[in-house]
């Protein structure tokens, strides 16, 4: 494999006695889009600031393209960064903002204007060069910030929650735009967000962070469908989690005892008697008749039906009184009413077992 664009090796950053970043290992391949996802205070922004050089690590190493950089000041790291508040220079025109990095690199004047024009075209802001940042909309400022970061042809792009200040519609547009731009330029990118939707749609890989550590790293589908911990499972999307105990092992599958009823699921490497958590995504839970022979089927009572248009969220009470949620396509074939008793079922391959007890 080629030299990774970025490599973090046991990175640590403490504020007082609190370790904001507590031993992070991460490698980003050239051209790869990696998202650091987590709740506020999980250390994702601190990690980004360590990579950018705004903070000095208390331990570990940072390599950019094979070069150790943890002792280099930010202005020698050759990274392009987009800030949450865009951080445009208010006293400069759009063109001067974009040209700033090139001026600092002492690029010739003629080349600067050519590259600024090219960068503004890249973010579809041709002809905006003479404006001031305060004459632009939020989305346009965002694009200027992106152009300013890309024009220096950085070894890597760092994005610090760049979409969180935009309204919903614009946010979804910029999502696609940043993604396609990143792919077209093939630039390795670290993206920080607390928005799981952004993480799932934009990333090649997602690193879910918690308390200064990476809890799980993997492709979006892996993170969503095979979460390693209860935290990851609960942080991304909705999920039903049922405490379970391994009853018996039958080949590749295990028989589980849960308060809601017996179940079967696939998992390797657990022994009988172990406490685990059985998880099923709401869209994989089915209601009513039609369960195949090998399905897990439990009795449940419909508590409430939430109508969201294309989908119905059916809130259920299980045999032990705990609640669960199923999501059904609103295709007209099913009607649920609160209070009705129904069969809830899922195929063993639609369940996922986490090796953590509740």
């Amino acid at each position: 494999m080629a030299e990774p664009a970025l490599k973090l090796d046991k990175l640590v950053k403490r504020f007082g006695t609190h370790a904001a970043v507590d031993g992070i290992d991460l490698a980003v391949a050239p051209g790869e889009f990696v998202t650091l996802l987590g709740p506020s205070g999980c250390g994702k922004t601190t990690t980004l600031n360590l990579i950018a050089g705004f903070l000095a690590p208390d331990g570990g190493h940072i390599q950019l393209g094979g070069r150790m950089v943890e002792n280099l000041p930010p202005f020698q790291r050759d990274l392009g960064m987009v800030f949450q508040d865009y951080a445009l220079f208010p006293h400069m025109t759009v063109a001067d903002n974009v040209a700033f990095g090139l001026k600092m690199r002492k690029v010739a004047k003629g080349e600067i204007s050519a590259r600024v024009a090219e960068a503004l075209a890249l973010v579809k802001l041709d002809g905006f060069g003479a404006r001031r940042p305060n004459q632009l909309s939020g989305g346009q400022r965002q694009r200027v910030a992106l152009a300013r970061a890309l024009v220096i042809r950085p070894t890597m792009l760092l994005l610090d929650e760049p979409l969180s200040n935009l309204d919903l519609k614009l946010r979804e547009e910029m999502r696609t735009e940043i993604s396609s731009l990143q792919r077209r330029l093939g630039i390795a990118t670290v993206f920080v967000t607390h928005d799981q939707g952004e993480a799932l749609t934009m990333s090649d890989r997602i690193a879910v962070m918690r308390d200064g550590m990476i809890e799980q790293i993997g492709a979006p589908a892996e993170i969503y469908e095979r979460p390693a911990t209860r935290f990851v499972a609960g942080f991304i999307g909705s999920i039903n989690m049922v405490p379970a105990k391994v009853d018996a092992i039958e080949g590749g599958a295990v028989r589980l005892a849960t308060p809601a009823g017996p179940a079967r699921a696939r998992i390797d490497g657990v022994s009988a008697g172990a406490g685990v958590t059985l998880t099923v995504r709401p869209e994989r839970l089915k209601l009513g008749p039609g369960a195949p022979a090998d399905a897990v089927a439990w009795q449940a009572r419909v508590e409430r039906v939430v109508y969201t248009g294309a989908r119905l969220e059916v809130q259920l009470a299980l045999a032990d009184g705990s609640s669960a949620m199923a999501e059904a396509t609103n295709d007209g074939s099913t009607r649920f009413t609160a209070g009705q008793t129904t069969t809830l079922w899922f195929r063993p391959e639609d369940a996922w077992v986490i090796r953590e007890s509740a």
């Binding site: 950018a52 202005f75 392009g80 951080a87 990095g101 600092m104």
Partner: protein, 269 residues
Amino acid sequence: MNKGPWTLLKVTVAVIYLFILGPILITAAVAFNGTNRSFFPPRGFSLRWWGEAFAPQWVQPLMFSLELAALTAVIATAIGVPLAFAFQRYDFPGKTIVRTITLGPLILPTLVTGIALLQFLTVIGLGRWLGYWALLIGHVIICLPFSVRTIAISLQAMPGSVEQAAANLGAGPLSVLRYVTFPIIMPGIFAGMAFAFIHSFTDINMSLFIAKPGQRPVTVAIMSFLDFGFAPTLAALSILSLLIPLVLIAVLGRFVGIGNFLYQEQGRG
């Protein structure tokens, strides 16, 4: 909507304006008296008091005040910029004490500061400094809080990410200061300088104790002349003294955009 409170507010504002503008307008009118007494409404019409206001007796203290205020403003700004950076950006031992002392003159009566400085210079044997140098020191002391505070506010209002962005784009610490930080806080620096200038120009409490005869600011000169009654000359002179800071503010406001700093406590980001 209930109109009562709005009417009350409008009346209050009108009364406040009346008491701010009324005296100024009356003084301006008095300066055009045709007699040598300060009548209002003026009796007759004459420009001779304006001519007298430009006599050497008054021009000299006026120029002295201008010079003192300009020098005070420059020195207060030169000290104020690094102090504001230190207070805003760094933690150092004794920071609270240093800041309290620096900003102290804002809450201490200037009269007390003036007497204290007079005593102090005499005690430490620098009594011969009394006069110009002591006056300059005194004015810098009382004007420094204005420049420090205004510059600190403009630094605070600047998002930290702007400097990080500059560093990220390849600017070393000095380039960040030169191309980003200073241009952004420049209106604050000029506003601080203007505040210091005006505060020095209008001061009488400090000058009263420390100025020497022959080196008197215009405020002290006016005060001394008041012993002989309020002549129309003083009215003309007062209006002149009023116009100087107003013109300064207007010019700075036009070219540097200090308006935000004068009329609100927040700078632009």
